[in-house]
Symmetry: C2
Amino acid sequence: MITEIPPRSGTAFRLARGDSLRVIDPDGGQVSDMLAFMADDPREALSNGRTFDYEETIRLTTGHRLWSNRSRPMLEIVEDSVGTHDFLLTPCSEATFRHFYPDKPVHRGCFGNLAEALAPFAVAADAIPTAFNIFMNVPVAPDGKIRVEAPTTRPGDFIRLRALADLIVGLTACSAYDSCGGSFKPIHYAIEPAGGDG
Amino acid sequence: MITEIPPRSGTAFRLARGDSLRVIDPDGGQVSDMLAFMADDPREALSNGRTFDYEETIRLTTGHRLWSNRSRPMLEIVEDSVGTHDFLLTPCSEATFRHFYPDKPVHRGCFGNLAEALAPFAVAADAIPTAFNIFMNVPVAPDGKIRVEAPTTRPGDFIRLRALADLIVGLTACSAYDSCGGSFKPIHYAIEPAGGDG
């Protein structure tokens, strides 16, 4: 069953160990910020630093795992039709909107959407780490400079991640202008039970 | 006054707004993991994601600021004789020692040293974010792969950071084999009052 995340909004849900999360860009050109916390203790959370350490790359795709701050693998990327995701940047917030888009209306961004969606799961806003930004296109130049470009996704592109533990997942449809090429689009996702792919 | 952090250990202290922290590599070839938390509420902490976002680079040096998870600048790099630091990787822990050095004795690493030093300041181990790893040499290849190389520092190399808020700072002398080229050396630091540099 496919669930739609409307443009500039977010949600949170449980994902059981063994189940997969499929995140789909239905129209192309959209980004989805993802967070994960251990269901039995949400102080254990996704960590970009631990992931870069263990996977020895900042470019995560099929075969790579996403790790927690306590050095446990949380999710494995088992399918990826895109191969371009970001794990460097934090979800946009009111403050980042004011900084990057001073002439545009302030939006609470993926950060505000995730904070609201995760509150019922006992995750405080301050405990939100750097997100795994699915489909986000952030090239790093040889001198270290980064820029945010429009995603390369075409309609129907997707990533599938298998849960390696019982998780709480936060997921958004991006709210920022640059990240999604100036357009705000929905994101689709599906939770697929263990064994569905053999 | 110069204080020495012995090899494979760490410390924590207050740094008042306006004061500077000078971190010196006395012998060359050593790394120092640094964390910062707001003194009035340590839930506000250093964030590599926010810093990359606002500074638009992963290579931080003189003139760049280090930002908090609440989008406030915490420290500004005001002098830097090296220019090579890492903000991608988390401090080594018992788990990373077991992973990367299975044949060597396990050490609690900078993570364990920071957790102990920060406990009196009400910072829990789970609240330790990705550290700013001073002098750490982590090249990123065009395909995103990263590797940990020996620091390029010579004896006496240093970085100076000015506090932009009242902070709690955690600081180590690195405990891992790869990060410091297989040698364990001390780190020196000094707190320099505001106005000392004009």
